[in-house]
Symmetry: C2
Subunit: 277 residues, 2 copies
């Protein structure tokens, strides 16, 4: 069994980007908009800031009060859309209930949408012509590629159908010639399907939901879950027992999480090239 070490692959990716950024005359710039001060969001924004500082990007953190109106957020995005020095715009989710995240997300112009979540970039992904792809799904595929794990012809089973992970992953894996199944809370006989998976990806946010009885022998298991219980992190997979049966597995933390950050760094550089070169 081999551990898919996302942290070390992330470090390689960031080091390569850092070397590329040194040679650029103007530095790429990432702007993160955060509404309110949810502690988890603060952690994620801080990770992005650290990444940006490490690779040499300019970084701006716009922290708006919880009470901000949709119009105000939209005005800020419109201004950033037009600003030449801004390459990537990202709105930290989740937003407070009075803000419509779909409207706000889609206000970002596609060429600066480094989260790849606008309708148009999502459609481009379906049609296999996207430049900016949602970071977590892209990170999973890049992690498999880093370990030279063949995707083509494999049966990939995804558990969880979020806009952020499950849905874009279907299209990304399909574009890479995998057979893809997607399961969720309404799926009956889940383990019948998960046991068919050559590559099993779990993104449901339930602590240690997948055990060894639900996976195929020698399968590749990707755990997207990050569940904090009593200040300890757990994945969606019962690592101790599943890792004995799998051929490859991602740890939590240190697997998919770091890859998400690495992909954001790649997307900002890609947006810079689209916007300025």
């Amino acid at each position: 069994m081999i551990i898919l070490d996302g942290k070390s692959i992330k470090n390689q990716i960031l080091d390569n980007i850092r070397l590329e950024v040194i040679k650029l005359k103007d530095k790429p710039k990432l702007v993160v908009i955060q509404v309110g001060d949810d502690p988890a969001s603060c952690v994620y924004v801080n990770q992005k800031k650290k990444m940006a500082e490490y690779v040499g990007y300019n970084f701006e953190h716009i922290n708006l009060p919880e009470s901000v109106s949709e119009d105000e957020v939209i005005k800020i995005i419109d201004k950033l859309n037009e600003e030449n020095g801004v390459d990537g715009i990202l709105v930290q989710m989740p937003l407070p209930n009075h803000l419509n995240s779909k409207i706000i997300q889609n206000r970002i112009i596609p060429s600066k949408d480094v989260d790849g979540l606008t309708d148009i970039n999502t459609g481009k992904l379906v049609h296999n012509c996207a430049s900016l792809i949602s970071c977590t799904p892209k990170g999973i595929v890049d992690l498999l590629d880093a370990y030279k794990i063949e995707i083509r012809g494999k049966h990939a089973v995804i558990v969880g159908r979020s806009d952020l992970v499950g849905k874009p992953l279907v299209n990304l894996l399909l574009n890479r010639d995998a057979t893809v199944s997607i399961c969720h809370s309404k799926t009956k006989d889940l383990s019948t399907i998960t046991k068919l998976a050559d590559i099993l990806i779990i993104a449901i946010g339930k602590k240690e939901f997948i055990d060894e009885s639900m996976i195929k022998d020698k399968s590749i298991v990707i755990d997207v879950g990050i569940n904090r219980v009593d200040n300890k992190l757990y994945g969606d997979v019962k690592f101790d027992t599943v890792s004995k049966k799998a051929s490859y597995i991602t740890p939590v933390p240190g697997g998919v999480g770091p890859m998400t950050i690495a992909e954001l760094a790649k997307n900002v550089l890609c947006a810079y090239k689209i916007n300025r070169q």
Copy 2:
């Protein structure tokens, strides 16, 4: 075994639309752009014209020479995009090789994209907020609904991953709470997966490819194939034997084909409401 009679459902849908159109002051208008004179394309354009005449839409057929340039097609689309009296614009596929169908397709403004194939409408479908959805997938779901066949919690297996059918169908069925698997030419052990299907949808364009050994007992079989051999039409499913094992099955012709036309009629009316009301 029950035959899913797309033709009769289509007639009901068109009759309802016809009654609605009579009450409208201005008639909805559909414009079909055809390049060249491929015989199959002529048949399909003619079906659309007949539908439009039946329900009372204005219809314009713009038939461009095979040699037309991309710029000329784009100019025509731009003009139609701006024309107030035009509600739906459709470019008949396939286009000659010198024209980039993705660029041409995406030139249609989303509110007149009655084929639902632009990147933005595709992305909206993924995010479950689309108004104009690709006609064949929508027709399949409406046919199941017409027969009160529950989709939620069912395992739907799609064979074929075209932009026109397979890919939008994944998202449409997922939005309806099905568990969805998508197979294609690179899938290994296809019948292992097709035999798990509660709802099996075949859209690969291979005459009688699916036989009774590949389906589950009492499953629902949707045949999207239209294969013309020696001037006779065949589906992708071996109807004679599969129909003995299935609980519901679509015939070819008379199943999914008519539903596609019915959905186009619905999309034109929907576009009219978006654009003019």
